[in-house]
Amino acid sequence: MEAFLQRLRTGDPRTAARAITVMESGGPVADDLHRALLPLTGSALTVGFTGPPGAGKSTLIDAFVSELRKSGRSVAVAAVDPSSPLSGGAVLGDRVRMGRHTEDAGVFIRSIASRGHLGGLSESIQPIIDVLDVAGRDVIVVETVGAGQSEVEIVEVADVRVVVNAPGLGDDIQAIKAGILEIASILVVNKADLPQAARTVRQLRSMLSLRRETDRNVPVLETVASTTQGVAELLQAVLALAPRAAEERKARRRGRVHRLIAQAAAAEARRSIMRRNDEALIAILGRVEAGEMSIETAARALILHDGAG
């Protein structure tokens, strides 16, 4: 493990790729590795990109990565694509949209299949980010599946969240519904050369002004990703937010851990209760059926008191 970690810290891409594979597989080996990595993390800035399909996320990320490289920073991109619910397989086609970087060793790209995980990313996304952090990448870009609805994870794992819109996608109302404004550190209107762009910008700004104080300062930027217009400014905006975001990172990570524990607890409780067939359980089932006990009371009793009382 020691030698492996050393190699990882030098930035060796094969080792980083293997480490990611280990994290994706989960289990005790992944846990051991993650434990060893944790003290070494903390230098990388994680930037999440999300937004509806058709907004040009991938094109924008490609241009953003170019800007990062121009500024002398090393980059990793984690591109998440959904797995087929039927077969469990996936076609991962995001990385080819970053066509400028196919031979740049300073840009490490990994395609990740969601493998059934809901939340917009993948179950092992945080350990994967940690691997890339320890491998010495200055900035880690995370691209979500991006429908916008269940984007809770991007808040947990990304220091700076860039939400990408485009004019005419009809998503102005959607943005409010999906709570997209709440997760954004920066809002981008891409394809800003289209005639409706100015209107989209205005709509977003007015929606922001209706929100609480902390959100009103969210910058609304315009880009034309295909010609890289506005992307340098986007980088500046991201870097400006970085220090504050780094401070909040601990709280966010803790929030994720807290949520994952609760999730795991719920799963464990479910398994344990469904497995049971003892007298105490049967007694409780009887009492609920007879209307003497509510389901919630029964649940609390089973979890906290193991059925007694």
Binding site: G93, D94, V96, D193
Partner: protein, 559 residues
């Protein structure tokens, strides 16, 4: 829309039909429905019940008369046979020149030039492993190369189709050659055969060349430049070939292609161009599959729909603008590697379908097309096929000979309905440009391709030699006809020397001007391309410059 529901006054008709039907059913128990590639169910028999001629004038018309269903000109092939325009491209410019002079000597009145794949990729020959060069097209990166390729070819008299996408350096080189030979650009005729950037984005990976918005700009500049300076050149060829080859059904292909033509026409109108001026020079380029009657119906329906679109939707007043002029190429996708000689039969049927459809020019594939670039011998067979269809089968004697067939007319109507449904879908998505950008078209094509493959895998769609009538042979792949390695290396060396010896200052100035034009909306980028190649700028350098300024294309993987 067109559909002729028929009221039959023929006495005894229904009874006779009923009798036939019941006898037929007795022989044909448990019959499964048969569908063509576009999904239309094909009946065993068609009769006046399916189509009558009472809407002859509205739906068919005579050749040359609106809606042009039977043909765009009054005399069609009987007056002037279709143009035999064989696609040629291989090796060095000298290789091309040898072959093209031979076919001109054999009577060809039109030529076509296919550049090397490195050209499609947007790079020069010195940027790629030499073993890959010239296998499927000719390596032409400078005006000098074009000059050598067209040595002794009378470009002021013969029509040339240049098969390169934007920014159309091949035409720029050709204009340079014309200038050198003192030939007026107004005598230069031909077509920018692959100017349809939307179909390339969808089905031919041209995103690596220029971004979608950049390609849009360059095409409009190209159209304007040609209107002004090369008025007898067709700058627009709307291409259905790539999409059908990628798996779109014939009806989908026609629907997508017509939608693309609408998009380009509307873009031109938005730029302030006169619609009549522009549409007059629109041409189309299609694949012809082996589903013979379906192809005939597809093209007849396409002709009818386009005439109505041009006149009624786009508002063109000149009848010349309503004409659906198209070049057909027999579809390589139907050809097999197994028992390649069978492909001669396939190409004959495809060619026949195209001729009966009333195409304006035709390319027939060689029978080894599935394996490699055609040899001299196999290319000769392909040309002989056309000659036999014309001289021996006498397919030119009658205009639209399948017209009036109950089947063909009914199928034409049904294909029309399918095609218009596709156009409506694209309209709902905001037009072909937006639909391509969003990946909608790619999804539809991918679904059709997979469905077709599943039919082949299941044995429902039969391909002789592949999933039926297989022969115990090991399908031998013979050694391919490849360009001579030494000749190619010499070509590349000569190119390197040219780059060293030209005026670097002039090159830099020309590239600057091109870059500036790309960033200035009112300037014409194609004009600057033409000037740049005059100054010795190469194909790869032109594209590299435009990619930098107009944006890098991005692939869209739809899974």
């Amino acid at each position: 829309m067109t559909h002729t529901a028929v009221q039959l006054p023929l006495p005894g008709f229904e009874q006779a039909r009923g009798e036939w039907r019941s006898q037929y059913s007795r022989h044909m128990r448990d019959e499964k429905p048969i569908r063509n590639r576009s999904g239309i169910e094909i009946q065993p028999l068609y009769s006046p019940r399916d189509w009558s001629g009472d809407r002859y004038l509205e739906d068919l018309g005579f050749p040359g008369q609106f809606p042009l269903t039977r043909g765009i000109y009054p005399s069609m092939h009987r007056g002037r046979t279709w143009t035999q325009r064989q696609l040629i491209g291989l090796g060095t410019p000298e290789d091309y020149n040898k072959r093209v002079r031979r076919i001109i000597g054999a009577g060809a009145t039109a030529i076509s030039l296919l550049p090397c794949c490195s050209g499609f990729r947007g790079i020069d020959c010195d940027e790629v492993d030499p073993v890959l060069l010239g296998t499927c097209g000719t390596v032409i990166n400078t005006t000098d190369h074009m000059d050598r390729a067209l040595e002794e070819v009378p470009i002021g008299e013969i029509s040339t189709a240049m098969n390169d996408p934007s920014p159309f350096t091949l035409l720029a080189f050709t204009l340079g050659v014309a200038r050198r030979r003192g030939i007026d650009w107004r005598s230069v005729t031909g077509t920018s055969n692959q100017s349809d950037y939307i179909s390339h984005f969808i089905a031919n990976h041209q995103f690596y060349r220029l971004s979608l918005p950049g390609s849009r700009r360059v095409l409009l500049d190209h159209i304007e430049f040609c209107r002004r300076h090369v008025p007898n050149w067709n700058p627009v060829s709307v291409v259905g070939q790539h999409m059908q080859q990628a798996g779109a059904t014939p009806a989908e292909t026609m629907g997508f292609t017509l939608s693309t033509a609408i998009q380009y026409a509307e873009d031109c109108i938005e730029r302030g161009m006169d619609i009549d001026d522009v549409l007059r020079r629109f041409t189309f380029f299609f694949d012809i599959s082996i589903s013979m009657f379906e192809e005939v119906a597809k093209f007849r329906a396409g002709r009818r729909i386009w005439a109505r679109i041009a006149r009624d939707r786009l508002g063109a007043k000149d009848p010349a603008c309503w004409r659906f002029k198209f070049h057909g190429q027999t579809s390589g996708v139907d050809l097999t590697q197994q028992q390649p000689l069978n492909n001669i039969a396939r190409v004959s049927i495809q060619a026949m379908a195209g001729i009966l459809s009333g195409l304006q020019s035709l390319h027939t594939d060689a029978y080894d097309e599935a394996i490699a670039c055609p040899s001299e011998e196999t290319a000769r067979v392909a040309v002989a096929t056309q000659n036999i269809l014309r001289e021996e089968a006498r397919l030119c004697d009658v205009i639209d000979p399948l017209g009036g067939s109950y089947y063909v007319e009914r199928l034409t109507d049904q294909m029309e309905a399918e095609i218009e449904a596709v156009i409506a879908k694209i309209d709902a998505a905001g037009g072909m440009y937006k639909a391509a950008e969003a990946g909608l078209v790619q999804t539809m094509i991918g679904d059709s391709a997979l469905a077709f493959q599943e039919q082949v895998d299941a044995g429902d769609r039969k391909i002789v030699g592949v999933n039926c009538y297989q022969v115990e042979e090991d399908p031998t792949v013979p050694p391919a006809d490849r360009p001579d390695a030494d000749a190619m290396n010499r070509h590349v060396e000569r190119f390197r020397a040219f780059k060293r010896e030209r005026s670097q200052e002039q090159v830099a100035k020309a590239l600057d001007a091109l870059a500036r034009a790309a960033n200035t909306p009112n300037e014409n980028t194609f004009e600057k391309v033409v000037e740049a190649v005059e100054a010795g700028v190469t194909h790869g350098e032109v594209i590299g410059c435009l990619r930098r300024e107009l944006g890098f294309g991005h692939p869209l993987i739809v899974a």
